[in-house]
């Protein structure tokens, strides 16, 4: 029988916390940028300017067809070259975090844009007509009438996507960046306690994601109850 | 045929049925009516065990429905049921809707089951639609198929749970005609319905329910002629003004 030995975890907690901060940083950045860029993409897809709609659709479909691992590999390849070219960084500068941030943000924007597009489409067309009848421009109608309603309906889906994203940040492992998972793996590898560290990491992810998804579920119920009345 | 004795049912603290008792003898047609939420649909679903009940007893052809040892699927295969929303199986053709339970439950051969189904389909006047799917028929047609589907099992009695209340007014009669014909042939029937014309024409007795209780259980002449309870009088007055 395998003999568990959890003793390497307490001493490693500060290091693991540093990793968790990286995971959370990537998540927060990708969520904020992803929603902003995703909103623009969604509006472009729904726009009546055909080339713009087509470009946005191609962007979204391309990113949604490629594995996240491949996207990250692409960005670990391209971003350093671009940064070095633009900012004349020397070759030793560590730009892995920057690459991961850019990769995740652009990738998640494709997924967010689909959620947001559905949200915008769920707002009845009459709302735009009503706003126009009041003399609002299209942009005003979007910003003041449609988007606020759309976002209220979308909040649970956006949050659920953020939970998925948080789990996906572990994939920066492919660039040897020490996020929470990478940190746990390093400690386990160093101490020959990979089994314990992997189980610990899994448990931590589970507690965070389960709690978050339960909170989203409660919020969704409240929202539904609110709409029903 | 059907005997309901002191049946009570509650969901948590909410009492749905209180001490309900009535009988349906062989060849009788009983109409159950009452305002919505009076428990009449729940009561009829207790008869074939689709709804469990906490106390009292129901027997169908001498077999106890509430007894955990009773083979409910077997009992249900002998009791036909027609639902408010037809509940044909949308992914099967009309022919398959009519034959699937004969084959899978009664163990009949495919040809025998198909023949039987087509005969009954003809009887409800829909033979031309055998190869269509439920979604391609009108509500009234679907409900007639649903009646044929139940009859294909050679039931010893039939339960109707508001069979016309989901139908457009112009389709109600085609379904009621089938039900009247069935009653005149001597089928034992328990019908939850608001169709008082149907009740006057073929019912032996009327059971009037309110707030989970059976308030009146009388032959139709006394029920329509001189209802004993104030609640039944109000109910009848309301139905007439509709």
């Amino acid at each position: 029988m395998y003999e568990f030995d959890w003793s390497s975890i307490p001493g490693a907690l500060p290091f693991l916390w540093e990793g968790m901060k990286v995971s959370l940083e990537i998540t927060a950045c990708a969520v904020l940028f992803g929603i902003a860029w995703g909103t623009l993409l969604a509006m472009a897809r729904l726009s009546s300017i055909k080339p713009l709609a087509w470009l946005a659709a191609s962007y979204v479909n391309l990113f949604r067809a490629i594995p996240l691992v491949m996207v990250l590999l692409w960005f670990f390849l391209i971003v350093p070259q671009v940064l070095r070219g633009v900012f004349k960084l020397d070759a030793g500068t560590d730009v892995r975090l920057a690459s991961a941030l850019v990769g995740f943000a652009l990738f998640e924007a494709a997924y967010y844009s689909e959620i947001i597009r559905a949200g915008i489409q769920s707002v009845p067309k009459g709302q735009i007509s009503a706003a126009s009848a009041l003399g609002m421009s299209y942009a005003q109608a979007m910003r003041l009438v449609v988007l606020p309603q759309a976002f209220r309906n979308m909040v649970p889906l956006l949050l659920t996507q953020a939970i998925v994203l948080f789990q996906d940040t572990s994939l920066v492992y492919v660039s040897a960046l020490a996020d929470f998972f990478g940190a746990a793996y390093k400690v386990g590898d160093r101490d020959g306690r990979l089994v314990e560290l992997l189980l610990f990491a899994g448990a931590v992810y589970f507690v965070i994601c389960f709690a978050a998804s339960q909170a989203v579920r409660r919020y969704q119920k409240k929202l539904n109850a609110h709409v029903a009345h | 045929m059907i005997s309901i004795q002191n049946v009570s049912k509650h969901y948590g603290a909410f009492q749905v049925l209180t001490d309900c008792s009535t009988e349906v003898n062989k060849g009788e047609v009983i109409v159950v009516c009452g305002p919505s939420g009076s428990g009449k649909s729940t009561l009829i679903k207790c008869v074939n065990g689709l709804e469990p009940f906490q106390s009292g007893s129901i027997t169908v052809d001498g077999i106890s429905v509430g007894d955990p040892k009773t083979n409910l699927p077997k009992l249900r295969s002998r009791v036909g049921m027609v639902f408010q929303h037809f509940e044909l199986f949308p992914h099967m053709s009309i022919t398959d809707n009519l034959s699937i339970a004969q084959i899978k439950v009664l163990g009949r051969g495919k040809d025998e089951a198909t023949d039987k189904g087509l005969k009954l389909l003809d009887r409800v006047g829909l033979k031309a639609h055998a190869d269509k799917f439920p979604g391609q028929l009108s509500g009234g047609q679907q409900q007639r198929v649903a009646i044929a589907r139940a009859l294909a099992m050679d039931p010893i009695c039939m339960l109707f749970d508001e069979p016309t209340s989901a139908l457009d007014p112009e389709m109600i009669n085609e379904v009621l005609d089938v039900m009247v014909e069935l009653a005149q042939e001597g089928m034992t029937m328990m019908c939850v319905t608001h169709e008082m014309g149907f009740a006057r024409k073929v019912a032996n007795r009327i059971v009037f329910m309110d707030k989970g209780q059976i308030v009146e259980d009388d032959d139709k002449d006394s029920f329509f002629g001189n209802p004993r309870s104030e609640r039944a009088r109000q109910f009848l007055a309301k139905i007439l003004t509709h």
């Binding site: 029988m1 395998y2 391309l62 067809a65 490629i66 594995p67 996240l68 691992v69 491949m70 590999l73 692409w74 390849l77 070219g85 939970i163 789990q167 996906d168 572990s170 994939l171 492992y173 492919v174 998972f181 990979l194 089994v195 992997l198 189980l199 990491a201 899994g202 992810y205 589970f206 994601c209 389960f210 998804s213 | 679903k45 689709l50 409910l72 699927p73 077997k74 249900r76 295969s77 009791v79 049921m81 639902f83 408010q84 929303h85 509940e87 199986f89 949308p90 992914h91 699937i100 339970a101 899978k104 439950v105 009664l106 799917f133 439920p134 979604g135 391609q136 589907r149 139940a150 099992m153």
Partner: protein
């Protein structure tokens, strides 16, 4: 940027001289496809079972199924993969783990762990879709099946599941696509699937763009083929007079 494009690398032979770089990529593609298809079949079977259990009128069974779904949905795919590959063989009792480590070829170990990981990970998502599909059916359908004398399993088999699966073809299509994309994660345990072969090519040829472009195109190709296949499935299972049917 001064990058030297060289598309001829795909035709050139690998250092061991036995084959070409293109053949490496193709063998990676083959592993990706085999792995994903095997895992998908397992995920469909497991997910259908768990999804059905979530809807049965038995608190213990539906609770167990719910716990299953939560566990596999709330831990990262990478953690699950490493657990199948590094953790499970260590803690399996009765010498099963040792048998896994010692008697199976390393390639088989990687493939098995990857397949089980993708299958269980995806099954939880399939289960949620199956449950949603069953939940979307009119409540009277189950009653109608039972009233005809079907047992509960027969009611699921003949009445509920055929319709539920038709309703969830679109979300299942996206899960099917996801399993191909997620299989790229399995390069992290050394399985030489498509993404891993792509990285290996970069290491050997120092021509990263050609290699990544080729791998990306292969993933796009898989995507197109799967979507076309599922569109056929959707058309074949369409019910006349219902939803998109006619």
């Amino acid at each position: 940027m001064g990058y030297q494009w060289n598309w001829s690398i795909f035709g050139s032979t690998v250092p061991t001289g036995e084959t070409t770089y293109l053949a490496w990529l193709l063998s990676g593609l083959q592993v990706t496809v085999e792995l994903s298809l095997a895992a998908w079949l397992l995920a469909l079977a497991l997910g259908s079972l768990v999804g059905v259990l979530r809807t049965v009128p038995n608190k213990a069974l539906s609770g167990l199924a719910a716990a299953y779904v939560e566990i596999f949905r709330n831990t990262p795919l990478l953690v699950q993969l490493f657990s199948w590959y590094f953790v499970l063989p260590e803690i399996l009792p009765f010498g099963l783990g040792d048998a896994f480590k010692q008697q199976l070829a390393p390639l088989t170990q990687q493939f098995l762990a990857a397949m089980l990981c993708l299958a269980f990970f995806t099954s939880a998502r399939v289960a949620e879709q199956v449950r949603a599909g069953i939940g979307a059916l009119p409540r009277g359908q189950k009653a109608a099946g039972l009233a005809l004398g079907f047992t509960l399993p027969q009611t699921y088999r003949h009445v509920l599941l055929p319709m539920a699966f038709r309703l969830i073809v679109p979300p299942l299509t996206s899960e099917f696509l996801n399993i191909f994309k997620n299989s790229a994660v399995c390069s992290t345990i050394g399985l030489l699937e498509l993404a891993a072969q792509g990285r290996q090519l970069v290491d050997y040829t120092a021509q990263p763009y050609e290699s990544f472009i080729a791998v990306t195109l292969f993933y796009l190709l898989i995507n197109v083929i799967v979507m076309a296949l599922m569109r056929i499935v959707e058309a074949r299972t369409r019910v006349p007079g219902y939803l998109g049917g006619k």
